[in-house]
């Protein structure tokens, strides 16, 4: 019988801005929480997975490597991965699932530690990414034209959607408004109060069509998910959530050469290795570093036709906690914080376990989709409570 892969434990550090706790401290806090949640000990961990590993040129973005965790925890791993050339954030969890299914490891710590707010406040320790001098690699094709931020790259895809399919700002606003409403019910989230459409429409613009509320903000946090093999579950005490399917793609690393967001290719691929279909899904946790991204996931995964994503979320009722497809129930990255992808796997597990408290969706959800990436990078996980 084929071995399955499960999420056996989840943990998260304090989430905030300009935290004084060290990046390794936040990581250890999340690891301890996840290992305890699973009912395991560090001695039982034999794998580590992360994306993108330690980035020396951009430490605030990713200060902790797989090796930092292996060394700090005194682990003896049989499998590990911390690559930047991979299918991005949730790809690290998908890859760990493939490893445990293949018998390379039994229990894998998957982590994502972000430290961009603290880094901005402490530039001597955390020099910012150099964008002005001696620029090389893919940055050279966008930085000289002032397109420093992924906000500018993603905004262009959104503008094209507005022209081709009639997406409006009032429709786009529903992503942030839904996120803020749910974050207000989540004690771990940075956002504490709901957002009104009036406030959204009056907000300053960042890069059209994105206003301030359409863009996530630098956050300090670490999120950990433990991926365990199906034949190691006797060692686990929490309700295991099965990784029923996964998919990921990178169309082009040079974002501006991509035809379209990889959410479309990955959204189709997710359904190829499972009998589940979009209609079976109870809740979706969609990457929303920028508010346009969930629209591409709704369309790419087949919850609506291509071009209909704006109309699907119009008014916000379909994606609300009591709607037909509750989305980003913990607040997403716009409301919870820029956890950089792992928050969507974490919240999927919270909802499927029925542990959402004030934000728990009704009806005992059994199936969730979590996604990450942006533009031409995408990864998706189908998570099932059996």
């Amino acid at each position: 019988m084929a071995r399955e892969a499960y999420i056996s434990g989840i943990g998260m550090s304090e989430v905030g801005v300009r935290l004084t706790r060290s990046a390794m401290g936040l990581t250890m806090d999340a690891i301890r929480a996840a290992v305890a949640d699973a009912g395991l000990t560090l001695a039982q961990i034999d794998g580590v997975s992360t994306y993108p590993g330690k980035m020396q040129t951009f430490l605030g973005f990713s200060p902790i490597s797989a090796d930092d965790v292996i060394e700090s925890c005194g682990l003896k791993t049989r499998w590990h991965s911390g690559a930047a050339e991979a299918t991005a954030q949730l790809g690290a969890i998908a890859d760990a699932a493939a490893a445990v299914r293949s018998g390379y490891a039994r229990h894998v710590i998957c982590f994502r530690t972000v430290y961009e707010a603290a880094a901005l406040a402490r530039p001597d320790e955390y020099p910012p990414l150099e964008r002005r001098k001696d620029v090389t690699g893919n940055s050279q094709w966008v930085s000289p034209f002032g397109a420093f931020s992924a906000a500018c790259w993603t905004a262009q895809f959104a503008m094209r959607h507005m022209k081709r399919y009639g997406l409006t700002r009032e429709q786009l606003a529903m992503v942030a408004i839904n996120d803020h409403a749910n974050a207000a019910r989540n004690p771990q989230a940075i956002v504490k109060v709901p957002l009104s459409l009036d406030t959204y429409m009056a907000a300053r613009m960042i890069s059209s069509p994105f206003c301030l509320y359409d863009c996530d903000r630098f956050t300090d946090a670490s999120t950990v998910v433990i991926v365990s093999a199906g034949d190691a579950l006797d060692e686990v005490r929490a309700t295991p959530i099965r990784i029923a399917a996964s998919a990921g793609s990178v169309e082009r690393y040079s974002w501006d050469q991509a035809e379209w967001a990889s959410a479309y290719a990955t959204g189709r691929d997710l359904w190829k290795n499972t009998d589940y279909r979009a209609k079976d899904v109870d809740t979706v946790q969609f990457y929303d570093g920028f508010a346009f991204q969930p629209i591409t996931w709704l369309e790419g995964l087949g919850f609506c036709d291509v071009g209909e994503g704006g109309r699907f979320i119009e008014g916000g009722s379909r994606i609300a906690l009591d709607g037909e497809l509750p989305m980003n129930t913990g607040g997403g990255q716009l409301g919870w914080g820029r956890l950089h992808g792992f928050g969507f796997a974490y919240e999927s597990v919270v909802q499927l376990r029925g542990q959402g408290g004030a934000r728990q969706i009704a009806g005992e959800p059994r199936l969730a989709v979590a996604t990450s990436g942006g533009g031409p990078m995408a990864a998706a996980l189908l998570l099932a409570r059996d």
Binding site: R131, R132, K133, D134, V135, T136, N138, S139, Q140, W141, V142, S143, P144, F145, G146, A147, F148, S149, A151, C152, A155, Q156, F157, A158, M159, R160, K163, R204, M205, I206, S207, S208, P209, S254, D256, Q257
Partner: protein, 134 residues
């Protein structure tokens, strides 16, 4: 936009693109075997893997595939707002260039507008910018 644009590290692959403007040329790597264009420029043709890849001066005309009006000053000396656009080149299928649309108000730009290249030189780099073709 009078700001100091990012200074590029020139190498054997990108030099023709970033300095072609000295002769008024917009150079895109083209394959001598299959005729396909490879951008960003590299040693091997991404279509047929031939090494017979050399810079080719395209016409410099294209259309706006999409754009955004950037309002945020990402650097202290950046004057905002300005337009960032992705231009589809007329004679280089599959190649897009990120650029700025200049010499018109920011709200005068639209998808499918015909554009043509012009160059702005700073410190030996010729940055390809685009303006609306009349």
């Amino acid at each position: 936009m009078a700001w100091q644009r990012s200074r590029i590290r020139l190498d054997k692959d990108n030099r023709a693109f970033w300095t072609g403007g000295a002769e008024g040329k917009l150079n895109i790597h083209r394959c001598g075997d299959c005729g396909g264009f490879t951008h960003p420029p590299r040693e091997f043709c991404r279509h047929c893997q031939s090494e017979a890849v050399t810079p080719f001066a395209v016409a410099g005309t294209g259309v706006i595939d999409t754009y955004t009006i950037n309002y945020q000053a990402w650097a202290a000396d950046m004057e905002v707002p300005f337009v960032i656009a992705r231009v589809k080149l007329d004679d280089a299928p599959g190649v897009y260039l990120t650029t700025n649309i200049v010499n018109c108000p920011v709200d005068a730009v639209d998808i499918d507008d015909a554009v043509k290249v012009l160059f702005e030189e700073q410190d030996g780099i010729w940055y390809p910018l685009f303006e609306k073709a009349s």
